[in-house]
Symmetry: C2
Subunit: 214 residues, 2 copies
DNA sequence: AATAACTTGCACAGCACTGTGCAAGTTAGG
DNA sequence: CCTAACTTGCACAGTGCTGTGCAAGTTATT
């Protein structure tokens, strides 16, 4: 009668289950980008599942969003790890450039960051990027390469908004990968004070900024 | 028994009632700017009224929003009526400048324009402004004063976003009226390709763009 | 083929919100 | 001061969402 510790030999999780989990995350990414307040019903449907089975993968609505945000922030963070350049202008352009490569992740975070219990989490996740941007701008102003007529913090926020605008634009009105990459950099450089000719010259003469993707 | 057509001499609407109506609109403006999905309860409370009495002034939630948007668009439209200048760059800067004066109206429309049945109405209301912006940019590019490296429509949308970013920034982080006015113009000019020095020069040598408010 | 893993549909409780009716109050205006 | 105009609180129906339990099905794995 010692059926107590009969190790119930647990099977492996089924393959299709994890696939569905991924599908849910992907669907959430897509749907929430269109409507940040979309219901689980809508998300599940987009993933080809029923609302009920969402709860087989995530305990909560917030749990799902949390996963979206944290996985997104991980991607962005790791994408920005490689960014480090002595020239602040190049550094800023590189940040913009690398963000472009992670558009989806960034947008998800921006979209979900609106209100609710996730807000704190998202700003936390985006924090490091923010700091890098601010720092690059500070250096750039000291450097004389960026406009000194707007206080660092304010300019940093405006630059962030600029980049986000381009990322949004890029998903709402189709744009080639290389084109988008060029556009983020152009507008970011413009925001810190460069004229459009200057921006082009700068990009042209800075090999690190060349698009080498897709 | 002919008490039928005894004209029931109707009184005038009470003064405080119309005041409350205004208070509701003002509260809605303020509250919805923080949370676009705020409840009528929240709005009414901010106006010092009960949720129930909202329905004494507006038949619907949408009715309230509709009024916000249309009154806002009327203000913006009339503010932009005076804008007309042969030089496209000046014209664009003037649009930005005049928008600044109507910040609140613009922001309300932008915020409420998200989804729902109001979307069509708001884009309609903002339509004329959009067209003016687009036209100024087209002329500016032909002119050689604005960057030709981005197609008109795309650039127009980016300029709109830039202006909105500044307006948002201005309400989220306090800024003087004159300062804000200067900032919208600077960033708008930057978006169409001017370097920061150029922008300053341009504003300095264009008397129409001088701040004469408050 | 056996079985655990997974999905589904349905039913239900709960919550937050809108919109309405009504009776009782308060207040501005004639 | 009288009365209509306005506000309020409460109750109630309706809607759309979340989260859960459960029984019945389907499917991957061994």
């Amino acid at each position: 009668m010692d059926s107590v510790t009969t190790t119930p030999p647990p099977r492996q999780p089924r393959r299709d289950a994890t696939e569905n989990r991924e599908a849910l995350l992907a669907a959430a990414r897509a749907v929430l980008n269109r409507d940040p307040a979309a219901s689980l019903e809508a998300i599940a449907a987009a993933a080809g599942l029923s609302r009920r089975s969402v709860y087989g993968h995530f305990s909560n609505r917030d749990d799902l969003l949390l996963e979206l945000v944290t996985s997104g922030s991980r991607r962005v963070a790791s994408a920005l790890e490689t960014v480090s350049h002595s020239d602040p202008l190049t550094r800023l352009a590189l940040i913009a450039s690398h963000l472009w490569i992670e558009v989806e992740s960034v947008r998800v975070m921006a979209v979900v960051a609106l209100r609710g219990p996730l807000a704190s989490h998202t700003v936390g996740a985006l924090g490091p990027v923010r700091r890098e941007v601010r720092e690059a701008i500070r250096a750039g102003q000291a450097n004389g390469t960026m406009r000194p007529d707007i206080p660092v913090d304010r300019l940093a926020r405006l630059v962030e908004d600029t980049a986000l605008s381009v990322l949004e634009e890029s998903t709402e009105h189709a744009i080639g990968a290389g084109e988008g990459h060029r556009l983020v950099m152009l507008m970011t450089l413009g925001a810190v004070g460069l004229g459009w000719r200057e921006s082009h010259e700068f990009i042209a003469e800075t090999p690190e900024l060349t698009w080498s993707g897709e």
